[in-house]
Every structure is written in structure tokens, then in C-alpha cells.
């Protein structure tokens, strides 16, 4: 239909993956496992509903009070000795990080997992300025070696199997023999990264929740690289989106429980790291300085729309991609966006604009699998439809950049014709009779039918409509 240019890019990227049976197998296997593990965690439906209601309310409270909570967070962090920075754009955020690093003569930094730093394309930016950023999460390390982007926000190298990883390690790590033994591969990464940690000038991390009440940064992880990044180097820089707050410390237990169980089906991650200040007098370790960079990058614009605002409840568990039947087929890279899957399909067009990402909301069957499992109850499908609408029919909301840019006269005319027929019972009945008579004679190569019949037989128009059968069988009209 419309937006052929943009849609074709998703479609083209999807085409590559769909033809790659190995990659599709990797994704399918991984998603099946993750769905089963999550389901086991929430087998008690009443407990799930009550926990989800609590978590969703906590995040809705954050959004309702966002500006004052940001100020409270800043005040508490500052009082605790954490330096707070504000960035409207990713460029500003990159410049802030660079300035801090240059002030400390930092040449290498180790990174814990951070999707906001992906959003900033921080590594490439720092590299241009002579600073090496080393990803230390095993999955991120692997894709950094491969020169790729994450394909999943929680499990970045989920698209790779161990053979591919073994080859990468043999190529990039001195003296590393080829092995597909996962324990041995993990040990090799530990060896390499240990020395990088010990020598790093700074550590950089994301933030899962920043607690306004106490000025505490909460980070979850399984590997310990996040703790290392935020403890061993003398300088720690944390980057976060302005929406990733919790109002009170009492909100953290339910939110953590939702996050880890939804993400990987774990009751808790190995480590929950709660950072409230830099190293204090008398303490033997921990960074001397902690900086927190608050990134807007379009979030305050999204916030202006009371429906789209719900997108900002997201706690980045990734469960929506694990449960998305489209994601499971096409993988994360097909979205060509930092955030793939359902949340990416609604977040990316809002952050980057419809002109850039307008095809994403159409890469969805509106099956609601994501809505069913979202731990903070984001109405993903409704927002998806809203963004489809904004693409062709802009509202007066200023929240969506490029609204209306996918409007075409052809599509408008098609829908006007559709309306004319279906809003008029007489026209509809006449149209239906035409279809019965001539529909089955439509040439198979015509648009829509051609796509349909690529894997299916063509639908057959019945000889009589239900309207006619009902009348014949004596069913009353009134």
C-alpha cells in the first residue's frame, strides 16, 4: 500500500534473515526457551496480576510526577556526592561524557551493558576522540569483536551460535584455540577482560532504576562486569534516560521482581548493585567520582502526549521481543534500530520520527502477545495503531515528528472508496454480488492477491453470501 520506500527496507532486511535457516533457528530456539522460563516464573496468575498492577502503578506515578522527581533525584544525588548532568540530545550526552573523560585524561573505559549508550552511539564517538571503549558484558564483548550492533536489548548476541563465537575468539584473542566449549569460551573472555578492567581509567554503565527518594542508582546483572565497571576504575559515569526513575525505595522490590522474571525468567539476577555515592573517606575502593548523565533525546516530546507517554513506562526487560512472533522470525537487526521488537516498533518512530521509522509500526500483526506479558502493562498495540494513524493523518499532538509524512493520495482514495462501500448497506450488497460473480476471475498476478498467494492458495468467493443464505433460511431481518 503506501510507504513503499520505508516498508521495503524492513521487508528487504527481513528477506535476508528469513532465508538464513541457521539464524532463524538461533532466534526461535532462544525465544522458546525464554518464553518457557518466564511462564514458569508467573505460573501463579493472581500473584502476577497483583505484582504487575503494583509495578505499573509505580511507573505511572513516576510519569505523573516526572519533573519534580527528576529534581528530587538530582538534589539527592548531588547531596550524596554524585554529579548530575542533563543532555537534551545524544550529541550533548556524548560531549558531556567526553568532557568528563578528558578532564581525567582517560584513554580507555570499560563499559557495563547500557542501551542508552547504544542510543548515543557512544563507542564510535569516543573512538573518534581517541578513547577506547571496551564492552565487558560477554554478549556485548562478542558483538563488539564482530563489529555488530546488539540484536536484543537483554541478550545482545542472541543471534550468534557458539561456532560463530568460537571463530571470533580464535581470530581476535591471542593464543585462543578453536573451541565450542561454552565454559572455555567464557574463561577466555574473563582472562582478556580482567586485565582491561584493572587498567581502565573509567567505567561506564547504564541504570535500571534511579531512586528519587534516596538518590540511588540500581543496576541489575548476572556477570559481575557491571559491578567491576562501577567499582574498580577511579571514575564511574552512568547514563540513563530521564524516564528510568523510581519514586521510592519501596518501589524497587516489586519492579526488580517484574524486571528479572520477565527478562530472563530469573527470580533475581546474580547481582543487584545499588550505588548511592562515590567512595567516602576511609573507604578502600569504589570510584572517587560518580557522574550521572540524564538523557532526554525526544522523551520530553513524547511525554507531551498523554497516550504516547505510556511508552515511557518501559523498564527494558525485553520480554516483548521474546514473545513477538515477528521478532522471532526476523531477529533484532531487521528493525535497524537501537530498540528492536514491539517496544522498538513504538519507541523508535517516536524518538527518531515517522519519516525514519514509519514502517516499524506496520511490522506487527497486532496479535497482542506483547501486551499480554508486558510487566508494566504498556498498551503497545494501541500505541502501534496510533502511530500508524499519525503517519497518514497527523493529530494536533506535537509529540510525533514527521506525522503525516506517509499520507498518499492513492491510499486516501482507497480508504475513501472502502468507506463508501461499507458505510452503505445497499452498495455493500451490490459490491458483494459483484465479488461473487467476478472475484474468482481476478488475475492471480494482481497486487495483494500476488502477495497472498506466495505461500497460500487463493481465497474462493462463495456462491452465496451469508446475507442471502440468512434470508433463504428464514432468518428475520429485524
Amino acid at each position: 500500500m503506501a510507504d513503499t520506500a520505508a516498508a521495503s527496507t524492513f521487508v528487504e532486511r527481513a528477506h535476508k534473515v528469513l532465508g538464513n535457516t541457521k539464524l532463524r533457528g538461533n532466534f526461535r530456539r532462544a525465544m522458546d526457551g525464554l518464553m518457557a522460563k518466564r511462564a514458569a516464573q508467573f505460573a501463579d496468575i493472581a500473584a502476577w496480576k497483583s505484582l504487575r498492577a503494583r509495578g505499573a502503578a509505580a511507573k505511572r506515578r513516576v510519569l505523573a510526577r516526572l519533573p519534580e522527581l527528576l529534581e528530587q533525584l538530582e538534589a539527592n544525588c548531588t547531596a550524596n556526592g554524585i554529579t548530575v548532568h542533563w543532555a537534551e540530545t545524544t550529541h550533548e550526552a556524548n560531549s558531556i561524557v567526553l568532557k568528563i573523560l578528558q578532564d581525567h585524561d582517560a584513554r580507555t573505559i570499560v563499559k557495563g551493558k547500557s542501551m542508552v549508550s547504544e542510543e548515543m552511539h557512544l563507542n564510535a564517538f569516543l573512538q573518534k576522540h581517541g578513547i577506547e571503549a571496551i564492552e565487558s558484558d560477554l554478549g556485548e564483548y562478542i558483538i563488539q569483536l564482530a563489529g555488530e550492533a546488539p540484536s536484543h536489548i537483554v541478550m545482545p548476541c542472541i543471534h550468534k551460535n557458539k561456532g560463530e563465537i568460537a571463530e571470533l575468539f580464535t581470530r581476535h584473542i591471542d593464543g585462543q584455540p578453536y573451541t565450542e566449549d561454552v565454559a572455555e569460551l567464557t574463561d577466555a573472555a574473563r582472562r582478556v577482560l580482567r586485565s582491561r578492567f584493572a587498567a581502565a581509567d573509567a567505567g561506564l554503565s547504564g541504570v535500571n532504576f534511579a531512586v528519587a527518594e534516596t538518590g540511588t542508582l540500581v543496576l541489575v546483572e548476572n556477570e559481575g562486569n557491571g559491578r567491576l565497571s562501577t567499582t574498580l576504575p577511579p571514575l564511574h559515569i552512568a547514563v540513563m534516560g530521564i524516564e528510568k526513575l523510581a519514586e521510592k525505595l519501596e518501589d524497587i522490590p516489586p519492579l526488580l521482581s517484574l524486571l528479572t522474571r520477565s527478562a530472563t525468567g530469573q527470580g533475581i539476577t546474580t547481582y543487584v548493585n545499588m550505588i548511592t555515592s562515590p567512595r567516602k573517606a576511609g573507604e578502600k575502593d569504589g570510584p572517587q567520582e560518580v557522574h550521572l548523565v540524564l538523557l532526554d533525546n525526544g522523551r520530553s516530546r513524547v511525554y507531551a502526549d498523554d497516550q504516547l507517554r505510556d511508552t515511557l513506562r518501559c523498564i527494558r526487560c525485553g520480554a516483548c521481543m521474546n514473545h513477538c512472533p515477528v521478532y522471532a522470525r526476523v531477529g533484532g537487526h531487521t528493525y535497524n534500530a537501537v530498540y528492536p521488537g514491539p517496544i522498538g516498533k513504538i519507541l523508535t518512530p517516536q524518538l527518531d520520527g515517522i519519516a525514519v521509522a514509519g514502517d516499524l509500526p506496520h511490522a506487527c500483526t497486532l496479535c497482542n502477545a506483547c501486551v499480554e506479558i508486558c510487566p508494566v502493562n504498556i498498551p503497545i498495540a494501541d500505541i502501534m495503531v496510533r502511530l500508524r494513524r499519525e503517519a497518514v493523518h497527523p493529530s494536533d499532538s506535537p509529540a510525533v515528528m514527521g506525522a503525516g509524512c506517509k499520507h498518499t493520495a492513492t491510499e486516501a482514495a482507497v480508504w475513501a472508496g472502502w468507506k463508501k462501500m461499507y458505510a452503505s448497506p445497499a452498495l455493500y450488497r451490490m459490491g458483494a454480488r459483484m465479488m461473487q460473480r467476478f472475484g474468482n476471475m481476478m488475475p492471480g498476478g494482481m497486487p495483494l492477491l500476488k502477495e497472498w498467494t506466495s505461500v497460500r492458495t487463493r481465497p474462493v468467493f462463495a456462491k452465496k453470501t451469508l446475507h442471502e443464505l440468512a434470508k433463504e433460511q428464514g432468518y428475520s431481518d429485524v
Binding site: 500500500m1 524492513f10 521487508v11 527481513a14 528477506h15 528469513l18 512472533p325 522470525r329 526476523v330 506496520h362 511490522a363 506487527c364 500483526t365 497486532l366 496479535c367 497482542n368 502477545a369 501486551v371 494501541d382 495503531v385 496510533r386 502511530l387 500508524r388 494513524r389 499519525e390 497518514v392 480508504w415 475513501a416 472502502w418 468507506k419 462501500m421 461499507y422 458505510a423 452503505s424 448497506p425 455493500y428 458483494a432 461473487q436 495483494l448 502477495e451 497472498w452 506466495s454 505461500v455 497460500r456 492458495t457 481465497p459 474462493v460 468467493f461 462463495a462 453470501t465 451469508l466 446475507h467 442471502e468 443464505l469 440468512a470 433460511q473 432468518y475 428475520s476 431481518d477 429485524v478
Partner: protein, 254 residues
């Protein structure tokens, strides 16, 4: 059995409306008629307004709200009396029950839309909870599997009701598909906007159905039915795909 869905079970009425859906009208009228026959057999007067057309879902899902509203208003006019509206499709029922209130928010006829929405019931849910239909199986022993449509399951809260009906057939063995709730890839315009992705999804769906060993697949939505049976036909699958209304009627008609 307690309904999975949030809305209350109405008392058994004397008269119901039947909304056949446009897909049933053009492609599966026998399935539509079977649903009406089941309701009539339970002693209800079934009214089929000849002025009904489409629920408006294709337009709404594409973001064409005005067009969707115009078509919805045609249904308001066609179904004026306060009788329950029975729909042999979870997807169209979901559109009318769950989305009309949002679609008409702030419109002059918002109250009418909400009242209409509250009268909409998915067929199998109605057969189980309101009519508690008893089914006397007259067919040969048969193994079937069920495909629940996404909107039926996740919008209308209809999960076990159709399977309950299948279990009430003494000669029918229901084999559950471990991937029963996974989308078949239809998604309305999605199937033609992203044909290859949709094709991959329906191909996997067919594989999972064949994996159950069932001779027939039964479903309650004609979008899924057209998609899955089309893919089965193209790949030469031995499994036969049916709409549940037609299946139930056939099994109990003798």
C-alpha cells in the same frame, strides 16, 4: 465454569442479533449460517440485519479512524434493539467490544458506541456461558486440534470456551497444539504488506498443527482460517481446516 473474560454473563435472552462479519459473508457463509443454526436450535430467535456490513477493523488498524467510525455507525443503525450481538469471530468481536469505546471517545455518539460495544459477544463464549449448550456427537471418531485467534484469546478473553465445546463432543479427541496461542501471521493488511514474514509465520503454524497429528484443525476466526487453510492447501497438507460453528453443527446434526 467461570468466564475468563472480565465482562459479566448476561441472562439467557429470547432474541439475539447475529453479526456475520464481512469475511464470513463473502468467503465462509456456511460457517456463519451454522452459528445461527446452533443459536436457533437452542431456542433463541436469531435476527440477521440485512443492513450489516463490516466492523471497521481494517480501517481502524491502518489508522483511518474516520472511515472506521463511519462504517461502525452503519452497524449502530443496523442493530437498534438492545439484544446481545453474537459474532462468529473473536477478532471482529474484539474490534467492536474493546475498541469501539476508544474509537468513539469524545465523539457525539460515544454513549451509543459504548452501549453497542457492551452487547457484543463472541459465539463460543456465548454458547458456553449463556446457553451452556449440550452437544450430542453423531460423528465418527476424530482427532482435532484447536487454533485460538490472537484477538479471541487476548482481546475477548476467550481461551478455553471453544475447547470446552470440542470436549463436549464424545467422539472427538482434542489434541492441544503447544503453539496454539502463537499468531498465524494473518494480521489483516500485514499479510500483504509483509508477505514474506507473514508467510514464514503461517508456515511455522502449519508445521505445529501437523505436529499434533490431528486430522482437522478447528478455529473460530475466518481470518486465521483463510490464512492457515490457504497455506495448508498450498503445501499439500493432509489436515483439514474448519470453522468451529460449522464443525459443531455438522457433528451434531446427524
Amino acid at each position: 465454569m467461570t468466564p475468563a473474560s472480565a465482562y459479566p454473563v448476561p441472562p439467557k435472552p429470547d432474541t439475539v442479533y447475529y453479526f456475520g462479519t464481512c469475511l464470513v459473508d463473502l468467503f465462509y457463509p456456511d460457517a456463519g449460517l451454522a452459528g445461527m443454526d446452533l443459536l436457533r436450535r437452542e431456542g433463541l430467535k436469531v435476527v440477521f440485519p440485512q443492513n450489516q456490513t463490516c466492523c471497521g477493523q481494517p480501517a481502524r488498524n491502518t489508522g483511518m479512524y474516520e472511515e472506521a467510525r463511519a462504517v461502525a455507525r452503519t452497524q449502530f443503525k443496523a442493530f437498534p434493539n438492545p439484544w446481545p450481538i453474537i459474532v462468529p469471530s473473536g477478532s471482529c468481536a474484539g474490534m467492536m467490544r474493546m475498541h469501539y469505546p476508544d474509537l468513539f471517545a469524545g465523539e457525539p455518539d460515544q454513549a451509543e458506541a459504548e452501549a453497542f460495544a457492551s452487547r457484543v459477544y463472541e459465539l463460543t463464549w456465548f454458547l458456553v456461558h449463556v446457553l451452556d449448550i449440550q452437544l450430542k456427537d453423531k460423528g465418527e471418531p476424530l482427532t482435532v486440534t484447536w487454533h485460538g485467534s490472537c484477538h479471541s484469546v487476548r482481546e475477548m478473553g476467550v481461551t478455553d470456551e471453544p475447547k470446552e465445546l470440542l470436549r463436549r463432543l464424545s467422539n472427538v479427541t482434542l489434541v492441544e497444539n503447544p503453539r496454539e496461542k502463537e499468531c498465524c501471521g494473518f494480521g489483516g493488511t500485514f499479510a500483504v504488506r509483509m508477505p514474506e514474514v507473514s508467510g514464514a509465520m503461517v508456515t511455522d503454524k502449519v508445521v505445529s498443527i501437523e505436529g499434533t497429528g490431528a486430522a482437522q484443525m478447528v478455529t473460530g476466526d475466518c481470518g486465521c482460517l483463510m490464512n492457515i487453510s490457504g497455506a495448508m492447501g498450498k503445501s499439500g497438507s493432509p489436515v483439514k481446516a474448519r470453522h468451529i460453528a460449522e464443525f459443531l453443527k455438522e457433528r451434531t446434526h446427524g
